[in-house]
Symmetry: C2
Subunit: 378 residues, 2 copies
């Protein structure tokens, strides 16, 4: 099924035999990668593992997207990632696409272009009736499978349980030669930072939910319904877009460092990435490319005394966000040209790598950062 056509069409529950009032995202209180356990809590809880996280005599930080394991078989490594979360859009088909793209993205972030196997993880919400369950699960699986097809991988396993919430996820695994993985810890001062999808996904998804819920927030903040609808489609497009071409180009453009942007937000992932660099560097973000109109919503939320999802602090969660890459200035320019050619989508230079100022590598948003409003490609 064509991804873009499906997004353009929008999801009408009645068309699939569901009640017109049916709302998939009602089946959970949390959305997408926003459901993650807070980072500090997680790190604390994972202390037990500390001594295990040794690969090739290097301590490996859990900030890495995938685990990379040297195998008994010479020159081969196992690269593996898992993710599961809750529905954040109402179309179960698109949700399947997003889930698959989000899992694969962790492999792509390390330059691993070919996934050898996907497992699908599914928690079927207990309060669905049988008809709803069948329709939703089928649509979800179809979307997950279509994305896997597009990624030239197959789904051969998984687990399905009953759960109070609809729980969606997967595991991506690849066995690769050393040269199929890019080294993600090679950033040096002078590198530029490139981002391949705009931020603001959480704002788009939530404002669209206010609209559907008719909870008064749209009126309260005086928001533009048409612009919200447009931004939602833009978010769906980018969340369901594979980062596979972005991964291929990491190799051809000699990326020094790379991660994907998900639940911890742009800055959270930049921090994770900066911390694992071999050189003494800081990552400075100077430009925030934001889905069109999402900055205006955030401005209005802040005016009204809110935090605006902490978007400008780089803390707003993304699901299946873009890759954040450090490369030389020449390679950065070339990368942006190449990705536009392959995906027909822009990418942006959003900052730079500098010599670090303190005792530890950090990432931060420059005081004089600028916002870039990114128009929908749809």
């Amino acid at each position: 099924m064509d991804r873009i056509a499906r997004i353009q069409e929008g999801f009408e529950p009645t068309k699939y035999g569901l009640d017109e009032k049916f709302v998939l995202t009602k089946l959970t209180a949390m959305k997408g990668c926003g459901c993650k356990v807070p980072r500090d809590v997680l790190l604390q809880l994972l202390e037990t593992f500390k001594t295990d996280l040794v690969i090739n005599n290097d301590e490996v930080d859990i900030g890495l997207d995938s685990c990379v394991i040297p195998l008994r078989h010479k020159g081969l490594r196992l690269v593996q990632t898992t993710d599961f979360f809750y529905p954040l859009v109402d179309d179960p088909y698109i949700m399947g696409r997003i889930t698959c793209a989000n899992v694969l993205s962790d492999l792509y972030a390390m330059g691993v272009v070919d996934c050898d196997n996907m497992l699908m993880l599914l928690g079927v919400a207990v309060d669905l009736n049988e008809i709803e369950r069948d329709i939703i699960v089928r649509q979800f699986i179809q979307g997950f499978k279509d994305a896997a097809d597009e990624a030239d991988t197959k789904i051969r396993g998984g687990q399905t349980v009953r759960c109070p919430w609809l729980l969606l996820g997967g595991v991506g695994t690849s066995v690769v030669h050393d040269d199929e993985i890019i080294k993600v810890d090679q950033a040096v001062p002078g590198d530029l930072l490139v981002l391949t999808k705009p931020i603001g996904g959480q704002v788009a998804v939530n404002s669209y939910e206010w609209l559907k819920k008719e909870n008064g927030k749209i009126e309260e903040l005086g928001l533009d319904v048409a612009k919200i609808r447009r931004a939602f489609k833009q978010a769906c497009e980018q969340m369901s877009r594979l980062n596979r071409n972005a991964a291929k180009l990491l190799h051809t453009n000699h990326a020094h460092s790379s991660t994907d942007v998900t639940g911890f937000g742009l800055l959270g992932h930049a921090e994770n990435l900066a911390r694992v660099q071999k050189s003494k560097v800081d990552f400075v973000i100077e430009t925030l490319p934001i889905i069109e109109y999402m900055d205006e919503i955030v401005d209005k939320m802040i005016e009204a005394g809110g935090e605006g999802f902490r978007l400008y602090q780089g803390r707003s969660a993304e699901t299946s966000g873009g890759l954040l890459i450090a490369l030389s200035p020449e390679d950065a320019e070339k990368y942006i040209e190449d990705i536009f050619e392959l995906d027909n989508r822009p990418a942006w230079i959003i900052g730079k790598v500098v010599e670090r100022k303190g005792d530890e590598n950090i990432a931060y948003i420059s005081e004089n950062y600028s916002k870039l409003s990114i128009h929908s490609p749809l």
Copy 2:
């Protein structure tokens, strides 16, 4: 931490800083592998994948425990499995052990003795307070890790989300040479069926819960509290016991076929296994080895008009159950001797492989089946 000592000691919430009334299993309405989506529903929902389930030109049945994927690298295969479910015992440490043992069991069922990587999947129940969460998650992780250590594998990745129920699981992955996997489809008439852990785990876990909940069922059925406590410890011991030695012996004793017994019950898994055999065979179960006293509970439940967990029909769910193996009569005897030597635990011949009677391979429990009451090793 010593597994047996911990089980013997029992779990006192106050000892770990939890309220004396704290009950881990309250955090879900479903227990262990009993949470699986019913098999027929699952098969129907998974239709979408049918065309994908092709390995080496053979259709692979989803009855298999792990997926086995030929890799681009010569002679190597990726073997992978995932499982997640809900707490079914109150000690989070033992629950961590059980979860890990249960995930690994799918690899062991195929003769894969060495797991190259584990991912841990964790849903942290939203209604836990912070203290409870920290205590429980730490204990769970410790148990999971101790089991992984015992299995000579490492946990290097995973995902943690917030969830209404405490959700526990993992992914086990191994990259193996062809000869590290046993062929599980080679059963022939004349083979005997061996089982390495008694059934009745669901009865043990549930009757123990009646006791803790003080819901009147113990009195109603006139049950023996001491015997229930003893059976519960027996169940904990066998659920947390790795099937790794059982897996090693599949090779040395030339097993023709093997699976592990979990959510679909003994007969359900026997059916799955019979169906994938190359030869025209039926699996006949003639003996049900049952955790001591669990048959008496089932008898009383049936007397009172209940189904007794359908234990005698082979449908009672097990979590981290034993391996069910088909081998030649000589190998079967030797297998049972060997496993006793390695694990200091008995295994039993529970049936045989015969030429099939109908058009399809089936498994069934003989009308004249006998019950074997298995005394606790603790």
